[in-house]
Structure formats: C-alpha cells, structure tokens
Symmetry: C2
C-alpha cells in the first residue's frame, strides 16, 4: 500500500476479468479516480455486465488475440480480477502464439498449486511488455483495513480463536492450500483447500448438525489471510456478502481478516449482512 | 510394535467401546489369542452387538461406576476403541467421583484439539491404577502394514502425490487438525479437520463435478497418517470399506497410509472394495 495510486496516469487500465462482480467494482473505483479502463473478459467466465464498458473478449489458451486487444486499447498496466477455475487442458484451444510458449504454459498450468500457476502467468504477461499491478494500488477502497465492520465487539474467546487461525494460516503457507480456516473454542474445525471459503464455512453448518462441532452458536471465527509470501497482484483473497451469510448460518461470531490483505466484493451488501446478522468483521495488521 | 503381545496375560482385557464395529473386531482378535475380554460400552455410542460379549455400560462423565465395573471384571489393561463425538457439556451428567476431579475433566474436555482432550483422558484413567495399551500391541492384525492391497500398482504420479501428502501431514501435525489429505496432480485439494476422512474424500466428488478439481478420473491419492508425535493408544486413524468406496467415487487412484500407524476396520470388506474398484492401498514406513 506504499505505492501511490496511479490515477494520474491517463493510459487506460486494462482489467482482465474472470467471473463475478469484482472486475466491475474495480472498474468503477478506477473510473472514479478519473482514469479510463478497458475490460478484457475471459470467455466463459466474465459476466455480461462487461457490455456496459469499453471491452474485448478472449479465450483462455490464446495469447496473440488478447495482446492485440490490449495494445489497441493502449493499455500497459493490467490488473487480474475475478474467479477463473483451473483450465481443463483437454478443452483448451491454443493459438499460434501460444504454441511457441506452450511448454511454458503447460508447465504453469499442469503442476503445482495455484501459486505456481499464477506467478507463472504473471511472468508470461510481463514478458510481453505489460505491467501487472495489484488491486490495493489502483482501488484501495476495495481492500479491508483495520476498521471494524459491525456493532458487535469480538470477545476474548473470539480473539483467542483468531490468534489460532492466523497462526495456522501462517504455518500452512508453504503448503499452498487455502487461505482460510474456521476456529471454534480454540479448535480448528475446517481448513480450506480447493473448495473455496464459502463452501468451507457452509461445512460447519453440517458439522454442528451432526455433533462433530460443539460450542454454543455464536462462537467461533472465520479467519482469512493471504499466504505469508503471497504476491497480492494475483489471487488475492476475497470476501463478500455470501461469505457473511455463510458465517451467520454456521453460527459463528464473526470474521477475522488480515488488514490490507483481503478484498471486499459488494461492500454495501456485506456491511448490511454483517449488521443484520449481528456479526463482526475485524482486520488485524500483518504480524 | 516392539512390545510383545500380551496374550499370555490371562487377566481379561478391558475394551472401552465407542461407536462402530472396531471394538468387536478388537475383541475377536484378542479372544483368538486366548485372552478373555470384557467390553465396557459407552452409553449412546456402543452398538447393541455388545450384548454378545461379557460387558457393562457406563455414561460419559461418570467415573466411579465404570471403575467399579472394570475392577469387578478383574481388568487392569484397557484399550480405548470406537468413535466418540466430543461430549456436549450441557448434557453431561457427572457422578460424585467425577465431581472431585471435575476441574481436571473440564480442562481436558473444553479446550484444545482432540490431542489435548485424549491424552488428558489417559492420565485420568492411569491415575486410577489401570494401564492403557494400544491396539497395535494387543491386536496387530488390525493394523495396516507395508504390504500392498489391490492389484493396481501406484504410478509415478501417484507416488509423487503421496510424497506431497505425507509431507503436508507431517508439517500440519503441530496444528492438531486432521490426519488425512487428498492430493491430485501434486496439488492438495482437501484437508481433513473436524469432518472426518470419509466426508473429506466425498467432498472431492463435488469438487470434480463443479470443475474445482481437474485431473483425469483415476488420478490422485488419499493420504492418511497419525500425527507425527501421536500417542497410538488413542484416536488412532482408521480406514474401512466406506473409505475405499469414497476414494473410488472421488475418482482417485488409491490410498497411501503410514505403515503401522493406521487401523483397518472391516478388512475383508475393504479388500473386496479395493479389488472391485481397481484401487490400491499402500503402506509407507514412517520417515
């Protein structure tokens, strides 16, 4: 967050858009600073809302076409946003340009966790002369800070659960798995891997139902943070109103996030959900 | 496994029995060695099959009554088997004896992960003059060794997935969470916490369906091991036929376990399931 916003740079920001509303929240936040945007949607992922913006579309696996679109739009800075499921290689269609870099692409896509895949992707893009920037730099308003959301104050037990969660995430960082855990009564009851945060939290509903998780309703915390050495230009953790709803359904007390390390998608709806459900969302500075 | 079997000791072995068939498999294995058994069932958990054996019942939270039953049956060695969900303290009824040790019991039951709870339980039992022994000592036939089950041989990729799984479990040991992970294409896609192994494996079925896990069906491994410093007298990891069925449904290639660290419940049915599904189960010596 030490880099100043780039709003004064009037070249359009290129927004490579996967699924969800986040790409458009980023676009609005950037446009509000006076900088134009160009959204490059990924076919099969980007929402139709893209049509309201200057945009182009490309297919995963192609390289020449999206590069031409970004150059025609005069973009040099790019931001990568929105969800993209791991590509299915058997359905992947590659263009001529991609074929020359295919060994590298395959190496990136077929082995290792998300970290390997995504940092390889950044290298590929920057090899083409673009600069990949992070959402914290260009739309800091979308990043959760230390200010609490919700009227409820975390209890001592909640804070102890958060401690355990943050420590666990830090410890698990090298394993390149998820970015979130649920802690209830000082016990880690769910660990996120490929299922995603909301699905992991929903699991706790079932665990309570079958008695595998005790602890009174209204106890326990979802803890979410980037991996310890994560490049925040890619795959930055995101929470949204659905996350808050899952946390409420799971009978937890609230959400602890690492300040400046987690994006909020749909802030207004998230704040309403947290208020209505009597939860808290607190940010803790990175240790 | 260096301690010799205790079959020559003709005092009956006390088997404290939670849910499932494992207590009776242990009882049969021990009786086959010529040693009598006495099964002490936990109310609400032990199956009705207990009626075919010399037995008594007790309620979680009581201490005087089960101790009297075990002494009347002339047991000094005990083994703890079968599943017991974390007790719900609000429903717990405690007897006079328990009240004198209540602070200790509460400390054991209300804080920390399973490890803390269970090793505290052993201390409580041994304070009363009993000796808690492990299933590997008294029924070694129930423990999975290094011999492969199933005709299929693990591929190079399967072995690489197993490596990653064993390393991850070792690394996560201090977090006192689950004892199993699923690894597909060198990526950890599911981590067990409170949900249990079979539920975790079943999650991979859904992850494949929604495209969150790629990798051809027939790739990936369930890896299961005790925690690095686990006391094998309590909460020893168990796999059974349902585990193998879940692994098959999840489209994995097989199961890797730490040799001498994992129990097999229902071996005959498990072997049949592995054979019918074309899976493998391989044991790897502890690193």
């Amino acid at each position: 967050m030490s880099t100043p916003p780039l709003a004064s740079d009037l070249a359009p920001l290129g927004i490579v858009a996967g699924a969800g509303t986040l790409p458009f929240e980023v676009a609005e936040a950037v446009r509000a600073t006076g900088r134009p945007v160009y959204i490059l949607g990924i076919e099969g992922f980007a929402s139709d809302a893209i049509k309201a913006w200057p945009h182009g579309m490309f297919r995963l696996g192609t390289i020449a076409a999206p590069i031409r679109l970004l150059r025609d739009a005069k973009c040099t800075d790019l931001v990568l946003t929105g969800r993209v499921e791991r590509p299915n290689l058997t359905n992947l269609r590659v263009d001529g340009k991609a074929i020359t870099t295919l060994p590298k692409i395959l190496a990136v896509m077929t082995r290792g966790g998300d970290d390997t895949m995504l940092s390889g992707l950044i290298d590929l893009i920057e090899d083409e002369g673009f600069r990949v920037v992070g959402i914290p730099q260009i739309a800091p308003a979308l990043v959760a800070g230390t200010a609490r959301i919700g009227a409820r104050e975390p209890s001592k037990t909640d804070l102890a659960d958060m401690d355990i969660g943050f420590q666990a995430l830090k410890h698990m960082g090298p394993l390149d798995i998820g970015q979130a855990v649920v802690v209830i009564d000082q016990r880690i009851v769910a660990v996120e891997a490929a299922e995603g945060t909301d699905a992991m939290v929903r699991r706790v509903v079932d665990l309570r139902a079958v008695g595998r998780v005790r602890g009174k309703p209204g106890t326990g915390v979802l803890v979410k943070a980037p991996k310890p050495d994560q490049d925040l230009r890619i795959d930055m953790p995101v929470i949204g109103p659905e996350t808050a709803r899952a946390v409420s359904d799971a009978g937890l007390a609230g959400i602890g996030i690492e300040a400046d390390g987690v994006l909020i998608a749909g802030r207004e709806a998230l704040e309403k959900e947290i208020g209505d459900s009597g939860l808290f969302l607190v940010g803790r500075a990175k240790a």
